[in-house]
């Protein structure tokens, strides 16, 4: 598992609203909270 203090990897993924969302969108502008969850249609 990645550790505190490490650089986060770059990513670019499609979202459910048709957008390409990339880590580079947020550099110098916003913090990011990634909420990983096992599967859709399960409790969150």
């Amino acid at each position: 598992m990645i550790a505190v203090g490490e650089n986060a990897p770059d990513f670019s993924l499609k979202d459910h609203l048709g957008r390409e969302v990339a880590a580079s969108n947020f550099k110098g502008k916003s913090h990011v909270m990634l909420l990983f969850y096992p599967l859709d249609w399960t409790p969150t």
Binding site: A3, R19, H31
Partner: protein, 202 residues
């Protein structure tokens, strides 16, 4: 997800963009999110190549074929500031995670204030039954909580079909009509709804 959705203004105040991630497709995400009453923050499809992002963070559970239930907070310089995995059946404390984000924001890495989305006037989204693009446009409307955009199904209602013809000069659906302007093609419709209701930094 609904609890996180309700706290979005506070995450925004802490200069934090919330991103949900699972190995499901964008279609599954959109349908599921709409069924929850609408999720307006991005749900990322870590779908192809499967779980590339989860794997790069060491959060993929190979035997189960899913990611862990885990939270990673990354500051605006791209440095990981918080990691927690609670296991697939585990539960997250969103209020406590908000406090962690506020702590990260307090460290003063560069951020910009996000403008409020401009919104959109009342309008009508014309859709068809058994039509994938109509469904995807409807999910976007639902996920963005755009109740001022009425839904009108031209497959079920001849009057609606006549109204679509009048408003757009054609019979193509999905079709979004706002302030006399008709937009066809579901990706253009969704882009319009997103621009009105869900601004991302950058």
């Amino acid at each position: 997800m609904p609890q996180t959705e309700a706290l979005l203004p506070r995450f925004r105040a802490a200069h934090t963009q919330v991103l949900g991630v699972s190995v499901d497709s964008v279609y599954s995400h959109a349908s599921w999110a709409a069924s929850l009453g609408g999720v307006s923050f991005p749900l990322l499809a870590d779908f192809h190549p499967k779980a590339e992002l989860a794997k790069s963070l060491g959060l993929y559970l190979d035997a189960a074929g899913i990611s862990d239930r885990a939270t990673v907070i990354i500051d605006s310089n791209g440095v990981v500031q918080y990691v927690e995995a609670v296991g697939p059946p585990g539960q997250r404390d969103i209020e406590a995670l908000l406090a962690e984000c506020e702590k990260v924001d307090g460290k003063g890495t560069p951020t910009v204030d996000l403008a409020e989305p401009p919104g959109i006037a009342a309008g009508v989204l014309y859709v068809r039954s058994n039509c994938g693009p109509s469904r995807f446009a409807t999910w976007a409307r639902d996920n963005l909580h755009l109740d001022q955009i009425a839904l009108s199904n031209v497959s079920k209602d001849p009057a609606a079909a006549a109204e679509l013809e009048r408003a757009s000069g054609g019979s193509q659906a999905p079709c979004l009509v706002v302030a006399g302007e008709a937009t066809t093609e579901h990706d253009a419709i969704i882009a319009k709804l997103v621009a009105a209701a869900a601004v991302l930094p950058g």
